[in-house]
């Protein structure tokens, strides 16, 4: 098995936008945006379906390699804000069944695209968290807003002493590099840095069709997540995923 060891407990599986957390026997993924092509097709863009298929391949691969018993989704399992589209529903159901077949537990922390998912909680038999979830030393959340346990606006809030690392999605991080033949090459990446004394890991979007935001090209003000706007993003490391490999490209600052 080929992994990149991020910490003593967290492993990044080569070539996959998936983190394996050993102590809780879980893999963490983010931003699936299931139903994406179906929704695009209704708006006049007839993309062949490939997203769910690719996600199942990647997750299946990760589960096989790690033996994890839990899949944690840090938000945006589906794509539409305002409702649950039929394509989203059928793809979510398929993904839930897939997780069952793999004998894994599925935990969803809701993202900004996950409204109305609650109504399927019983039907799908999955755990759903509205904002954040603490598990072991980790605090999982989506990232479009500050989780309550971090937000300064909520009085007396402190990130629990026990939490050592924050794990989120939402940003769809990627980096762009100019290749030797001067072609722009865009790679999805993990971002790994610090926020208020805790480690912060940003997961890349596992959605196959979305390219992501060029963290090394966009100014900080254009980033989506409030927590990243506050953090010193230049000092984050970009760990890129692509062509079957996972490679540490060093600090964002050096990639600008």
């Amino acid at each position: 098995m080929n992994f990149m060891k991020l910490t003593n407990d967290i492993y990044l599986i080569d070539g996959l936008p998936i983190a394996y957390i050993k102590s809780i026997s879980a893999i963490a993924i983010s931003d699936l945006h299931l139903g994406y092509e179906g929704i695009a097709a209704k708006a006049g863009v007839y993309a062949p379906k490939s997203n769910l298929k690719k996600i199942k391949e990647m997750v299946g691969d990760a589960l096989g390699k790690t033996g994890a018993s839990t899949i944690i989704v840090t938000g945006d399992i589906k794509n539409e804000f305002s409702s649950v589209d039929i394509d989203e529903y059928s793809e979510m159901l398929e993904f839930v069944k897939f997780a069952k077949r793999k004998n894994t537990r599925l935990i969803l922390i809701k993202g900004n695209h996950d409204n109305f998912v609650d109504r399927y909680k019983t039907l799908f038999d999955i755990e759903i968290f509205a904002q954040e979830m603490q598990k072991g030393k980790y605090l999982f959340f989506h990232g479009e807003e500050m989780p309550k346990s971090i937000s300064k606006r909520v009085k007396g809030n402190n990130i629990s002493e026990k939490v050592e690392m924050l794990i989120m999605g939402h940003e769809h991080p990627a980096i762009s590099l100019i290749s030797r033949i001067r072609r722009k090459e865009k790679l999805k990446c993990f971002l790994f840095g610090e926020y208020r004394g805790k480690q912060l890991l940003v997961l890349p979007a596992i959605n196959y069709l979305m390219q992501g935001t060029d963290i090394n090209l966009e100014p900080k003000s254009r980033l989506l997540s409030p927590i990243l706007k506050k953090a010193d993003i230049n000092r984050f490391r970009a760990i890129a995923v692509g062509y079957g490999e996972t490679l540490d490209f060093g600090r964002i600052l050096d990639l600008r």
Binding site: Y46, P48, I181
Partner: protein
């Protein structure tokens, strides 16, 4: 079978088939027939398919229509004329349609008046109806359309797009049962592009609906080869082209063309002088003529000429610009003023090439080379109103390459050696539109539909597998079963061998059909700053590291994302691509080859005359042979001297002159930029050079493990390796061997990945194929959104299947229309089997023939001055070198 004829019928023979009323009208209005009319009246009266090429103003409209009008009045006189469409006229221009409508309405009314005068009240008893004409374009009001549906006109004037919509309307297409004639005007504007391919299929669908055999009439400005145009016009039946009579009356107009250089010395005269002299010529031409039309090669130049004429000579509202960037209203108003004779001069880039009625033009001036003989004829042919007038014009050349190119162009015109065009074959996006359109009106047997499609010339050799793949694509068979309801646009029953319409398809078709893509405007961003914008067609020509001018500065193209183009300031560098590059049409292959032939004749003559020429660069004497070659060109003494010294400089400096048998490869050093240049003197036109340069660059880059920059123009290409490499003749032949043995299409596909060119063209094809809808239900998708969506699609499709029709068509379009991969491959084989000999030289500074390409990027940016400085600098170095060699000798 195609039958050529150059024997016109006599006036009496031509007029004999006409009934007395139509003949009376004709005789009252015209004293004689024009040349095209002497062919057309009789042949059309006999129901023949006919292609006529003739210059503008030679009575083409009446040529095609009079016999048809006559036939319709015959029905009328018999009392059998019904409210049915008998004739459809299609032209690519709405403006032209309006002209035609006006120009026919009058005769129709007049002829009817003549009949009424004679028959009096009997017209009611005998049911003698007026012959009606109607117009249908995108501008036609809804109420008018509804009227046409119930009460169709006898003659329907329309555009290719509107025809396709009518054909796909269940109700309207019923009106086409009665059609007997179709006239396609401006064939030369349609036969080489997707609009025309689209029309060719519409015509076959029309022929299928019509209960009579369709008489097909094509009118065109000159184009070559005529058989190709005829095939496009008449289509195929049972695997063979249908019969057609071909009349080439293009040469009925005489040409009086002058080649002019503003100054004797095109190199060392200063800019102010050249500019002054150029404008003096223009002013004098304008003053001496009632109306002058000036053609420039770019829109920005058009504006500049107008600005200067006004500033220098106090012209005001009596001169105007006419080009594609102007609003439709301002163009129309210029056309109106021209017709009324209110303008002394109009300056245009390409927009006035077409046959819109603009009244009488006395003289045409062409600034710089128009790059093709056919275009030259088309442009100069706009002067002289009547078919008997001589078309008068001047070509003003601005540098020595221009001079040679234009001299040969005029020579080619005289010998009627024209550029060849090709009708693109098997455009699958156009096919997809038609299959969807066909499904809307009835259920089709798949075999039957295929047999119909292959009757259109652009699809006559369409592989059945490609046809089936388009059906599969439209049926949504590229996604899983449960999604097809949304993805499919036709209902395909393979076991039953039929296809038919699906619910939402009509809306999709009506809102999205057509072949002209939305052009996007791309933001140029340096750092975080928005600098300005460039057109998408220019954007797709940019390669990373290209340097281009915008708003008075130079920028280096670095990367892009969707609608943004990221650049960095590069004022110290040399521009590699001029901003008009996408606007100017490439040099035609045939003209390029004629120039190459001339170069070879000159080389042979120089070698034979070597003794008598002398070695002193300042006192060269033409020998007999050289004199003969130059005389045969028909240029004046001054031009002849310029050409002679230009060729001698090249010969003395480089030891040879590149031509059709010799490909000169020159390794040199550009001191101003401190880079090594490998210059290929491949005068094959830009489309071939585009393909060749990419292929050579890929091989070179692999062999030496270095980045290779590329610059191309019509006369050659330059490879700029990032580091110094040891390029030799052997390297060159190794590359040629490698290219010869490889699948260059695969190499190009790999090379095109993630380029703007591929992305943009894929978007166009995806939109044409209805894979991305521009309009649907209540929304209109912005170009920006189209672009983002197409990028996502491309990523998925590329991994899916290389034969997916939308992707396959994208590559076909790039290989055959943007580039010319077929001829590039041909050149590679010719080098391989030594039909073309490569010669390699190493030079301290670029040789004279390389100067225009080396300084190419400078052209037309506002710093034209820099280009001349740079050219003079190069020229100086060359002359010094030649003198130095002589001193040693």
């Amino acid at each position: 079978m195609f039958e050529y004829t150059d024997k016109p019928f006599s006036d009496a023979e031509s007029l004999a088939p006409l009934n007395k009323y139509v003949r009376q009208w004709f005789n009252e209005n015209f004293s004689e027939l024009t040349l095209p009319q002497k062919f057309a009246f009789k042949f059309i009266a006999n129901g023949k398919n006919l292609l006529v090429t003739a210059p503008t103003g030679s009575g083409k409209t009446l040529s095609s229509f009079l016999s048809i009008i006559n036939a319709l009045f015959n029905y009328s006189l018999e009392g059998s004329l019904e409210n049915k469409i008998y004739c459809i006229y299609v032209s690519p221009l709405r403006a032209l349609n309006n002209d035609i409508y006006r120009n026919l309405k009058l005769p129709l009314d007049k002829i009817y008046d003549i009949i009424v005068k004679e028959k009096g009240i009997d017209i009611i008893k005998d049911n003698i109806q007026k012959v009606t004409i109607g117009i249908r374009t995108g501008d036609t009001e809804q109420s008018e359309r509804a009227k046409q549906l119930k009460n169709p006109p006898n003659i329907l004037v329309t555009t290719p797009e509107s025809l396709a919509i009518m054909l796909s309307s269940e109700k309207f297409s019923e009106n086409f049962r009665s059609v007997q004639y179709i006239i396609i005007d401006e064939v030369h504007e349609l036969a080489n592009n997707k609009r025309g391919m689209h029309l060719a299929l519409s015509v076959e669908r029309l022929a299928r609906i019509a209960e009579h055999r369709l008489v097909r009439i094509g009118m065109s400005a000159t184009l070559y080869p005529l058989e190709e145009a005829a095939k496009f016009l008449v289509g195929y039946e049972k695997g063979k082209p249908r019969d057609c009579i071909i009349v080439d009356a293009s040469w009925s107009k005489k040409f009086d063309l002058k080649l002019m250089a503003p100054v004797q010395d095109l190199i060392y005269s200063n800019d102010a002088l050249i500019e002054n002299e150029t404008y003096k010529i223009l002013d004098s031409v304008i003053k001496h003529n009632k109306t002058t039309l000036i053609f420039t090669n770019t829109r920005s130049n058009t504006e500049r000429v107008i600005f200067n004429l006004k500033k220098r000579f106090n012209y005001d509202l009596d001169i105007a610009a006419h080009h594609g960037s102007l609003s439709r209203e301002s163009r129309l108003s210029v056309e109106e003023m021209l017709k009324k004779g209110d303008l002394k001069c109009v300056v245009s880039s390409t927009s006035l090439e077409l046959g819109v009625d603009i009244g009488t033009i006395n003289n045409v001036v062409q600034l710089g080379s128009p790059k093709s003989v056919t275009r030259l004829i088309q442009r100069i042919g706009r002067s002289g109103h009547s078919f008997k007038d001589t078309a008068r014009g001047e070509i003003i050349v601005l540098d020595r390459d221009d001079l040679v190119e234009c001299a040969i162009m005029i020579d080619s015109l005289k010998s009627k050696s024209l550029d060849a065009f090709r009708v693109p074959q098997n455009p699958l996006d156009v096919l997809a539109q038609h299959i969807l359109g066909m499904s809307l009106t009835s259920q089709w047997s798949i075999d039957d539909a295929y047999n119909l499609v292959v009757q259109a010339y652009p699809f006559h050799a369409l592989p059945r597998a490609d046809f089936d793949s388009v059906l599969d694509y439209l049926a949504g068979n590229y996604v899983e079963l449960e999604s097809r309801k949304v993805y499919s646009k036709i209902w395909l029953d393979k076991s039953g061998g039929t296809f038919s319409r699906r619910g939402n398809a009509k809306l999709i078709f009506m809102l999205n059909q057509g072949t002209i893509p939305d052009e996007a405007s791309i933001n140029v961003i340096a750092g975080r700053k928005h600098i300005g914008s460039i057109q998408e067609e220019f954007f797709e020509k940019l390669k990373p590291n290209d340097i281009f001018a915008l708003g008075g500065h130079l920028y280096r193209f670095e990367s892009s994302n969707g609608m943004n183009c990221y650049v960095s300031l590069a004022d110290a560098a040399a521009p590699t691509i001029p901003p008009w590059f996408s606007e100017q049409l490439p040099l035609s292959y045939e003209l390029a080859m004629n120039i190459n032939k001339f170069r070879r004749q000159m080389l042979d003559a120089i070698i034979k005359d070597r003794e008598s020429i002398g070695a002193n660069i300042k006192k060269l004497k033409k020998g007999e042979k050289i004199d003969a070659v130059l005389k045969s060109m028909g240029v004046d003494q001054a031009s002849s001297n310029v050409i002679f010294s230009y060729f001698m400089e090249q010969f003395l400096f480089a030891g040879t002159i590149p031509n059709d048998k010799i490909l000169l490869i020159e390794q040199t050093y550009d001191a101003t930029q401190e880079v090594n240049l490998i210059i290929f003197h491949s005068l094959y036109g830009r489309r071939i050079n585009d393909a060749l340069s990419r292929l050579f660059a890929i091989e070179l880059s692999n062999r030496f493990d270095t980045d290779v920059g590329i610059m191309i123009n019509d006369n050659g290409f330059i490879l700029k390796p990032d580091q110094k490499i040891d390029f030799t003749l052997k390297t060159n032949y190794n590359i040629v061997d490698a290219l010869h043995s490889k699948d260059i299409e695969e190499m190009m596909k790999e090379n095109l990945k993630r380029t703007e060119l591929l992305k943009n063209r894929f978007r166009h094809v995806a939109v044409r194929s209805f894979m991305i809808l521009k309009r649907y239900k209540s929304f209109k998708m912005t170009v920006n959104k189209q672009q983002m969506s197409s990028r996502m699609l491309l990523k998925v499709v590329e991994e899916m299947d290389q034969n997916f029709p939308v992707l396959k068509e994208t590559y076909r379009e790039i290989f055959n229309e943007v580039m010319d991969l077929t001829n590039a491959r041909e050149i590679i084989s010719k080098i391989k089997n030594k039909e073309i000999e490569c010669k390699f030289i190493s030079t301290p500074v670029p040789s004279p023939f390389a100067h225009t390409i080396v300084s190419f990027g400078y052209e037309d940016i506002l710093v034209m001055k820099h280009k001349r400085d740079y050219l003079r600098h190069l020229h100086q170095l060359v002359i010094e070198k030649i003198n130095e060699n002589n001193d040693h000798a």
